[in-house]
């Protein structure tokens, strides 16, 4: 699952959203680092819908603007939970590595001098 697809699922986990709402939510969730275009968004939605992770929940016309809402499905929620757990485990491993500090280099000036 790509980062963008993960963020889209996460945006839908909060509440059903329309296309522009998803783009805004992804921007907020990524702290402004991901600005998704409409083409990218619909490519991701295509894949998520075909995998039954998301589905259209209804259409609303507000002031002449067509808004089709999407919501997370049960398999989508499960996939999101699995992916979140994977990221948590990865982050925990990364924390352990960082806490251990920089390792002594296997090959370096000291080693060469010792050998000599």
């Amino acid at each position: 699952m790509t980062e963008q697809a993960y963020l889209v699922l996460l945006a839908l986990a909060e509440q059903p959203r329309h296309g522009y709402g998803i783009v805004q939510a992804v921007r907020d969730l990524s702290d402004g680092s991901i600005r998704m275009g409409a083409g990218t968004l619909y490519g991701i939605l295509d894949r998520l819908v075909s995998e039954a992770y998301a589905e259209a929940s209804g259409e609303v016309v507000v002031d002449g603007r067509l808004r089709r809402y999407y919501r997370l499905t049960e398999p989508g929620g499960a996939a999101l939970a699995v992916e979140t757990a994977r990221l948590q485990a990865l982050a925990a491993r990364a924390q352990r590595v960082l806490r251990a500090g920089p390792a002594r280099p296997a090959v370096g000036p000291g080693t060469v001098a010792g050998l000599a």
Binding site: Y20, G39, T40, A56, L66
Partner: protein, 397 residues
């Protein structure tokens, strides 16, 4: 799906800038037709909201994103090369999962050209082995054959791939989106045809007056050598040219008038066409007409300077005079009919009325989409079993 649910049936979005809508429609052509039928209105709204108020066209970044995603969608849904080859070469039906693609192919423009693509190999080999003249002749022959046979071949292929008596497994009603039909508007098309035809007649036949009879061999210096292209001019007299231009125009004009007589009476009380979008007369059409006229003027200048065959000017000029004057009469008649009131006429309506066929409201055009995954769920449908979540990245390392 309930009537009225289709985005195509909703009123046009009044808040959308028409320039922006046109720009978005242009770039969205990167997506397959079935995809556009299902999702273009919704995506246009998102594009407009992302562009912000006051935007008159899609910016470069947005357009590139749409084009890349559109072609990715096409690529994802395209049949495998092996299936595709068997379909084109031996008319083997594509597997059912490609029904949506197949329907688009069978109903899209230039089906005849796609269907007869193996002939392109003959065209190329003729060009390579027998020279450019033979290649050009083969190319013209291929295009003419494709256009002539396209309709018949398409109908036959539709019957073969989607037989009318087939069970709804293939063509279930949920597989269609109903969209308005796109028809050519009569008045702008006739006006453009008249303008182009009469301009071509005047310029080309007029240029032939200046062509001097005899063999001309002008030289062009290129890459240190002098190239000469022989142009045998026939040099027609002014009387012949005037007779061709004026006589052709009068003949075609009278013929068109006789063809269209009574159309005003028959068009009275014609029905509204709510499920139709008229095209033609926009900026793109104006540009195309201006480009055609510019090409005509260029050829006229070449003929007048003995750099191009004047016989081609005679043929094209006479043709322009015939078509242009007939179109001019048609335009005058249509303008008169539309001033009487009633809905705007499409070119198809004019043909129907001239043929004494009654006009009826056209239904929405069914455009195949795959069973639309974005369609809101049917509350009466049995719940679909969900597949277990599949995540490549969640597999144990």
């Amino acid at each position: 799906m309930m009537p009225g649910d289709s985005p195509a049936e909703r009123p046009a979005d009044a808040w959308l800038d028409p320039h922006f809508a046109r720009s978005a429609r242009f770039w969205l052509r990167a997506y397959p037709r079935r995809w556009r039928a299902a999702r273009a209105p919704e995506m246009t709204e998102v594009l407009a909201e992302l562009a912000g108020s006051g935007a008159r066209r899609l910016d470069v970044r947005g357009a590139a994103d749409v084009v890349c995603s559109g072609w990715a969608t096409r690529w994802r849904e395209h049949p495998r090369p092996r299936d595709m080859f068997a379909y084109r070469m031996w008319e083997r039906r594509l597997p059912g999962r490609y029904d949506a693609w197949l329907w688009d192919d069978l109903t899209g423009a230039l089906y005849g050209v796609r269907k007869t693509f193996p002939v392109a190999l003959i065209v190329v080999s003729s060009g390579v082995t027998a020279g450019s003249a033979a290649g050009a002749s083969a190319l013209v022959g291929w295009i003419a054959m494709s256009l002539l046979l396209g309709r018949v071949v398409r109908r036959e292929a539709q019957r073969r791939c989607f037989p009318p008596a087939a069970p709804p497994r293939v063509l279930g009603p949920e597989g269609f989106r109903h969209v308005p039909r796109r028809r050519l508007a009569a008045r702008p098309i006739l006006a453009a045809t008249a303008l182009i035809g009469l301009t071509a007649a005047g310029m080309l036949l007029g240029a032939c007056v200046f062509a001097t009879a005899g063999y001309h061999e002008p030289g062009f210096a290129a890459l240190g050598t002098t190239l000469s292209l022989g142009v045998p001019q026939r040099g027609y007299s002014g009387g012949v040219l005037v007779a061709l231009g004026v006589g052709g125009a009068a003949l075609a004009g009278l013929g068109a008038f006789a063809f269209l007589v009574g159309i005003r009476r028959r068009a009275h009380g014609r029905p509204d066409q709510p499920h139709r979008v008229l095209i033609g007369g926009g900026r793109a059409a104006h540009r195309a007409a201006a480009a055609t006229i510019a090409v005509t003027v260029s050829f006229a200048l070449l003929i007048a300077n003995d750099l191009w065959l004047d016989v081609t000017g005679i043929v094209a000029g006479t043709l322009g005079s015939l078509v242009g004057s007939a179109a001019l009469v048609g335009w005058l008649v249509v303008r008169r009919v539309e001033r009487d009131g009633g809905p705007t006429l499409a070119l198809r309506d004019v043909a129907h009325l001239a043929d004494r066929r009654p006009l009826a409201p056209e239904p929405l055009e069914p455009v195949w989409t795959r069973p639309d995954p974005y369609a809101p769920p049917d509350p009466y449908a049995p719940p679909a079993p969900h597949s277990a979540p599949r995540l490549a990245s969640s597999a144990p390392a």
